[in-house]
């Protein structure tokens, strides 16, 4: 394995010795506990100091985009579940947001609110795990267990909502698969009540913990210019002072109606990325609470006249429109009117800007389903974050970037 032309500063400890003589190469991953998934790094080390790093990806490349050309718009949602597997709901929302942008479908108000709620719950569960992983890698195991317990509560909400705790496949073109039931609302309410206390506990465990602060403060610095130049987005960019948040900048779903703040920091180190994520969980909880209290009544899927969302069983059996609509949607090439056009639409996923570039070709399958993954630019930034730090900082930086291999490689 060769490092791509590394440039080293000339600081030989002895006159006449080349600095390269003191370097050694360490292979890190692709199967390593601190990468959490399948990332690989080739590190050039001078003693314990990292001189250069070459990240490598592709150890989980499964052809998601190719498979998107062979599945219909409704089927492909199952594959998006497996894309960023620590927040599948956000991927579901992103995919159908992009499809509906292409097809020009206007959602019902209730649906936009429901999607907002589940996307924010997904954000909370993502941040719990990513911050938990930072804690785990820097030695705070209890913090991780606290986070994972709350993730189980969110899993439970999702399971009540759609039957699957993990790979939810919840959204549909023009709607969602199941409407909120009173039990779901009750469970979310209970979560809103109990979660802040756990969040406080978690903050008390780690935010002012000397060991954790020493391990993360000033480590993995990313300046605002580097973040923009390197296409960073999401909490990574916001921790460096980029104020971009698609929820505010291009309000989609119900975000325009709701009151929340964009969390930013200016230091750009691992610690501020941790802080941004912690604060975003509180804002997300605020969003969930507001959206749940203002949840509009009425139909959740778009009207059956539009023939995009599958009608309910009740509609199929009791109305002629429902029967026709169901029949047409079940037949090949009778369903949606897909234009020969292409469009891009993105949402602010927990990890950053998650967008889909979809090319329509008249059929129900996308001609091209490009996913713009937030993790790729972040992982490409890794060498410049780690240069000059020690080997033990590698795991802290990796954890704070929250790179998900399935989304990275697709």
């Amino acid at each position: 394995m060769s490092i791509a032309t590394p440039t080293f500063d000339t600081h030989g400890p002895e006159a006449g010795a080349r600095s390269e003589d003191y370097l050694w190469t360490l292979n890190f991953g692709p199967q390593h506990p601190a990468t959490h998934t399948t990332l690989r790094l080739v590190l050039k080390l001078d003693g314990e100091r990292v001189v250069d790093a070459m990240p490598e990806m592709g150890y989980l490349h499964s052809g998601f985009e190719k498979i998107g050309e062979h599945l219909t718009f409704n089927q492909y949602v199952t594959v998006t579940d497996r894309m960023n597997y620590i927040s599948p709901m956000a991927n579901n929302v992103a995919w159908h947001h992009a499809v509906e942008t292409l097809l020009g479908i206007q959602l019902t108000p209730r649906c936009t609110y429901i999607r907002t709620i589940i996307a924010e719950l997904a954000r909370i569960s993502d941040h719990l795990l990513s911050n938990g992983a930072v804690g785990l890698d820097t030695g705070a195991f209890t913090f991780f267990l606290y986070g994972f317990y709350q993730r189980e509560v969110i899993y439970d909400i999702f399971e009540t909502l759609c039957g699957a705790r993990f790979t939810t496949s919840y959204t549909r073109v023009g709607g969602v698969s199941h409407d909120f039931t009173p039990l779901v609302i009750e469970k979310i309410r209970a979560f809103i009540r109990t979660f802040p206390k756990t969040l406080d506990d978690m903050e008390r465990l780690l935010t002012r913990n000397r060991i954790f602060v020493d391990r993360t403060k000033g480590v993995g610095l990313l300046s605002k210019e580097e973040a923009t130049n390197g296409s960073a987005s999401g909490p990574v960019a916001r921790a460096s002072g980029v104020t971009r948040d698609l929820r505010k900048d291009e309000p989609y779903l119900a975000y325009g109606d709701l009151d929340f703040q964009v969390c930013c920091a200016s230091a750009g180190d691992c610690y501020s990325r941790y802080l941004v994520r912690m604060q975003e969980m509180r804002e997300s909880l605020k969003l969930v609470a507001q959206a749940l209290e203002n949840l509009p009544s009425g139909e959740v899927n778009v009207s059956i006249d539009q023939r995009v969302a599958r009608p309910t069983k009740q509609q199929v059996y009791s109305s002629i429109e429902g029967t026709i609509s169901h029949f047409e949607l079940s037949m090949a090439n009778r369903g949606f009117e897909v234009p020969y056009e292409e469009s891009y639409a993105a949402i602010e996923a927990p990890n950053g800007e998650l967008g889909f570039y979809i090319v329509g070709d008249g059929t129900e399958n996308a001609y091209r389903a490009r996913c713009r993954p937030p993790s790729v630019p972040h992982f490409a930034l890794f060498p410049q974050l780690i240069r000059g730090h020690t080997l033990s900082d590698v795991v802290a930086v990796l954890g704070s970037l929250n790179i998900i291999a399935a989304e990275l490689d697709r």
């Binding site: 692709p30 199967q31 390593h32 506990p33 959490h36 998934t37 399948t38 592709g58 150890y59 989980l60 490349h61 499964s62 052809g63 190719k66 498979i67 199952t78 594959v79 579940d81 497996r82 597997y85 620590i86 795990l129 991780f144 267990l145 994972f148 317990y149 993730r151 189980e152 705790r165 993990f166 790979t167 291999a405 399935a406 490689d409």
Partner: protein
């Protein structure tokens, strides 16, 4: 464990605190209750694997919670998630680094069959390339399912295990799962530079002719 009643038939008198058993059974009993898993987690199933070890499901209750990330310390590999072309050589290498006796659980649909990913990059089931003892269905399986698989594996070890590892001689069982039949029919595969592949191809061709 088979215990011989003391004093029966005028044989050797044993004190009451001595239990007689087969050596195999003793070894199996030790092995099954000290499984050290090596989590080879690549994708979504890895998160469920983490959930299995975390607070709510608590794998420690079943004696297999000592996750070690060094293959040399482990005797159970849990392959959680899809394995793709670039990853398979890594998987094989890690499997070979583990010490005998060793077992493998293929967790989830992707590891077992390729799952929904019938694409150019995904290996359609790791059992084509490494031995597998236990398959867990589901996409991803719930933690309860994984726990059940581990309990079943413990059962299997207790029932089938031998101290010399005779139960691992399974050439015939492996042969019929080989992917090589699929390869032999295809001209795109160039085996000229791969001696291992050449050997495998010859063996597979021989197996096919001997069967017909």
């Amino acid at each position: 464990m088979a215990v011989m009643p003391s004093g029966s038939g005028g044989r050797i008198e044993l004190p009451e605190n001595v239990v007689v058993s087969r050596l195999d059974a003793l070894a199996n009993w030790c092995r099954k209750n000290s499984l050290w898993p090596m989590p080879f987690s690549t994708a979504c199933c890895g998160i469920e694997l983490m959930a299995t070890g975390a607070a709510k499901h608590d794998l420690a209750r079943f004696g297999a919670e000592v996750f070690r990330f060094s293959p040399r310390q482990c005797d159970l590999m849990i392959v959680a998630g899809r394995v793709v072309m670039k990853m398979l050589p890594v998987l094989q290498r890690i499997w070979q680094q583990m010490h005998e006796p060793k077992w493998c659980i293929s967790m989830g649909a992707c590891a077992s069959t390729g799952g929904v990913f019938d694409t150019y990059a995904v290996v359609q089931g790791i059992d084509r390339f490494i031995p597998v003892d236990m398959y867990v269905p589901g996409c991803p399986p719930r933690p309860e399912q994984l726990i059940q698989a581990i309990i079943d594996l413990q059962d299997k070890i207790q029932r089938e295990g031998t101290i010399t590892g005779r139960e691992f001689d399974t050439v015939g069982r492996q042969l019929r799962k080989r992917a090589l039949v699929e390869i032999t029919g295809h001209a795109a595969i160039d085996a000229s530079r791969n001696p291992v592949l050449q050997r495998e191809l010859a063996a597979a061709a021989e197996a096919i002719t001997s069967r017909t």
